[in-house]
């Protein structure tokens, strides 16, 4: 077993709030410079920038996990990850179906473009990505399960857009693969105040919107290689794989 550094919550130029400097090449370069072995691409309600970051990562020796940060109907942010591009595409169809038709105002919220390795614009999302999709947290989890993905409620102690702020506590029916604590909001102390969370694997990540934030916080994973199936085992704590607590 080896130890790998993973920052599994990173936004790209495609998120309206993501810096225009968050291009595939910049993200991969910064992640490697920060000593990361694995990153997760999680734009708001879209997966359309993942493939190119994954491709650049593959060329440069960084494993890029593909997914999205979904905003549920209750306005809870949840990280989702998928094993291959087929499942990722199926999830994109789901997102497209339930994202409301509210146009983005780029002047106010920021641009929503995805780019290639040469930083040429490949496409633009016209609908506002930071809206809530018309699906409950339970429905989102169910869809992720059907696609054998990973479901991780994000920044759970954030005073907004979190399980705790929106729903008061973790819903009984939800079985997250892990819970995430973001560098940007309260760290270990609140966790000690929540004995009900002891059962969950905890991930730390940066929630980076700017290049300099990448790897600012990360998780240490003990596994055989940095890839999706190894990560799943590490989150479950099976076959000797595990998340080393921070």
């Amino acid at each position: 077993m080896k130890r790998y550094k993973a920052d599994l919550h990173i936004h790209t130029v495609l998120s309206p709030c993501g810096s225009l400097d968050m291009s595939p090449v910049n993200i991969v370069t910064k992640a490697l410079a920060a000593g990361l072995d694995m990153i997760g691409i999680t734009d708001h309600n879209t997966t359309r920038q993942c493939a190119e970051v994954h491709r650049v990562g593959q060329l440069k020796g960084l494993y890029v996990l593909c997914g999205a940060e979904v905003t549920t109907k209750e306005e809870v942010h949840c990280l989702t990850f998928f094993e291959n591009f087929e499942k990722l595409a199926a999830f994109q169809v789901y997102l497209d179906k339930y994202l409301p038709n509210i146009p983005n105002d780029a002047e106010r919220f920021g641009y929503q473009v995805w780019v290639n390795a040469e930083e040429e614009i490949e496409g633009q999302e016209e609908r506002l990505l930071i809206s809530a999709i018309d699906q409950s947290i339970d429905e989102v989890e169910h869809t992720v399960r059907q696609l054998e993905g990973l479901f991780i409620p994000a920044h759970i102690f954030r005073p907004s857009f979190s399980v705790y702020s929106q729903l008061g506590f973790m819903p009984f029916g939800i079985k997250p693969d892990a819970i995430e604590i973001s560098a940007r909001y309260a760290l270990s102390e609140p966790l000690n105040n929540h004995p009900e969370l002891k059962a969950y694997t905890v991930l730390h990540s940066s929630d980076a919107h700017f290049p300099e934030q990448i790897g600012h916080h990360y998780s240490l994973l003990e596994m055989r290689a940095p890839d999706f199936q190894e990560l799943r085992m590490a989150l479950q704590g099976t076959k000797g794989r595990k998340v080393i607590s921070a």
């Binding site: 409950s136 947290i137 729903l167 008061g168 819903p171």
Partner: protein, 113 residues
């Protein structure tokens, strides 16, 4: 004033939790953040919200509210309905949005005094 009185006066629909229709109404609280309701709502208040998740009924029970009203004719989740019946706390719905409904309920409770 009881929950059944406000149902009649505000033209509300009863979705579930009939057992609690005689609950005494002591005030109201309007919020969509369940963490806020957990911290700030009081026993006997009617809680007005657009959230439809099952956790709403768990928080309603924890805070012992008189009833929950879901606004804008939004459809409650199935397990929210069953939990309302289990808890015996009425789950009501209104076609009004939260501002209008809160205003109407406020007027009603103020008139009574």
């Amino acid at each position: 004033m009881k929950v059944c009185d406000i149902i009649e006066k505000l033209n509300l629909k009863v979705i579930a939790g009939e057992e609690g229709l005689q609950n005494e109404v002591r005030g109201g609280y309007t919020s969509d953040l369940l963490s806020d309701v957990m911290g700030n709502a009081d026993e006997g208040q009617v809680w007005i919200t657009l959230q439809t998740h099952r956790n709403v009924m768990a928080v309603a029970s924890l805070k012992e509210v008189a009833a929950v009203i879901i606004v804008k004719d939004l459809e409650a989740d199935e397990n929210t309905i069953s939990q309302s019946n289990d808890e015996g706390i009425p789950l009501l719905s209104s076609s009004m949005q939260a501002f209008e409904l809160s205003g109407e309920l406020y007027k009603l409770l103020a008139e009574k005094k």
